[in-house]
């Protein structure tokens, strides 16, 4: 049995999963190196504004995560990418982008997700029409407290397209990203808070409200904010001479084609395996699933385990997850690491 207080663990990825995992490892006595390829930690959370389901300011989550990694046992290294992992006896060697070889007793891979690049659904006109934006762009507008069309006008009619890059064989993503539905509900309400007289429409295929308080939020959005839900996948978007957007959709519940003009259209970008995670999978022989995320060793009892002893997963590098689930998953990864140390 090897005691945790002598163990060195490298956590790859400084988003919510990696930061939480690092903090929990440090509290358990491990010596932790946290590698983040960007210049700052925080991952995607730092780009969001208010979080579902309770409209918590995302800065609070950032502050919490920063406290988690503020520990004597943790060295945070930004601007460093883990290129590949190799086993050396019971140790794992991490080859970094700076040419170092870092030895560790265990590795937690927390490389997270990338947002779907909306340009790939070119029929929606992202990058072509100025007033087609992504859900991430809208979060930045909320953060700047300024929701404007490209021409500086305040939009009065705003549409949300669900499932952009999710549940779509045409972009090779058959899976549901699971968070975009509730994000659309949250953002639709937020738009109404900013622009009281706006009309807001959500175009959905199925409202997947499986998380805690999601359904309640959906109901609130109808009841208190008057958000209008139209069941149909938008097939294409065009622009008229006034740069208003025209969406083509079938109102599948009414059973008739519907045309609508909008001032702004928000694409609910799905989640994909991160490029960094993909690179690590290829360089280090880590298994990925059909959805390209890391494939856990067991879907019931080992969602934090890879098929390599000593390499563990935390967070959205294994599947789309919200922040709550990510933090829980990171804690569970640490429990698995501790269990591993007790048994080697």
């Amino acid at each position: 049995m090897l005691k945790a207080d002598k163990r060195e663990v490298v956590v790859i990825g400084g988003g919510a999963a990696g930061m939480e995992a690092a903090g929990q490892l440090a509290k358990a006595g491990c010596i932790v190196t946290l590698l983040e390829r960007e210049s700052v930690t925080g991952g995607h959370v730092k780009n969001w504004y208010h979080l579902f389901p309770d409209s918590r300011n995302s800065d609070e989550v950032i502050e919490y995560l920063a406290r988690q990694v503020n520990h004597d046992n943790i060295t945070v290294r930004t601007g460093v990418t883990a290129g590949s992992l190799e086993k050396n006896g019971k140790s794992i060697i991490i080859n970094t982008s700076r040419g170092e070889r870092i030895r560790s007793d265990a590795v937690i891979v927390a490389t997270g997700f990338d947002l779907f690049e909306s340009r790939r659904k070119e029929e929606y006109g992202y990058g072509i029409y100025d007033n087609v934006i992504s859900s991430a762009d809208l979060e930045m507008m909320f953060r700047k407290d300024s929701i404007k069309r490209h021409d500086g006008e305040t939009p009065r009619r705003i549409g949300f397209v669900h499932c952009v890059g999710s549940r779509d064989a045409k972009v090779n993503n058959l899976y549901c990203s699971k968070l975009c539905c509730v994000t659309a509900v949250k953002q639709a309400m937020e738009v109404k808070k900013h622009i009281g007289n706006a009309s807001v429409y959500c175009f959905y295929m199925d409202m997947r409200m499986g998380g805690a308080l999601y359904e309640e939020l959906y109901k609130e959005s109808q009841e208190k904010y008057g958000i209008i839900y139209i069941r149909g996948k938008v097939s294409e978007v065009s622009e008229n001479i006034d740069t208003r957007l025209i969406v083509k959709v079938e109102d599948t519940l009414a059973g008739r084609p519907l045309r609508m003009e909008l001032d702004m259209l928000v694409l609910m970008a799905g989640m994909e395996m991160s490029e960094g995670g993909m690179g690590l999978a290829e360089s280090s022989g880590l298994k990925t699933g059909e959805n390209r995320f890391f494939a856990p060793a067991d879907h019931h009892f080992g969602t934090n385990k890879s098929t390599v002893a000593g390499i563990f997963y935390a967070g959205a590098c294994t599947a789309p997850m919200n922040i709550t689930e990510t933090i829980s998953h990171a804690r569970a990864a640490v429990a698995d690491v501790m269990d591993y140390f007790r048994n080697i």
């Binding site: 064989a169 045409k170 097939s235 079938e250 109102d251």
Partner: protein, 114 residues
């Protein structure tokens, strides 16, 4: 006790057990992607024919699956086979082949071949 006039309107029901699903089965056997439609309506939204006259492939395929064949028999020839629906279908259903097979199945059913 008063008679409130409540009754069962049989003509409103899809008589699922009695309905003939052989046309749908004929299509699904030959074009398995027929089974994986999620009713998103993309095909109908982008459909050139549906822009001008009543024609929704999403509607017709669900009617076939429920054995409500008569409406489909009346409308299936309205499709011009332009294939835009194939381009937009998020499930990758071979919609054009579905239509061709539906026409073939109706033709054969008239000739008592299925």
């Amino acid at each position: 006790m008063g008679d409130f006039g409540f009754t069962v309107l049989k003509e409103r029901h899809i008589n699922y057990d009695a309905n003939d699903k052989s046309i749908a089965e004929y299509i699904a056997e030959r074009e398995p992607s027929f089974r994986i439609c999620i009713e998103c309506g993309c095909c109908s939204a982008t459909c050139t024919t549906g822009n001008f006259i009543r024609f929704s492939l999403r509607e017709l395929q669900i009617l076939l699956k429920r054995g409500e064949n008569e409406i489909v028999r009346e409308q299936i020839d309205r499709c011009m086979l332009c294939g835009k629906c194939i381009l937009v279908c998020p499930r990758g259903v071979n919609t054009r082949n579905v239509i061709l097979l539906a026409r073939e199945a109706f033709r054969k059913s008239v000739e008592n071949e299925i």
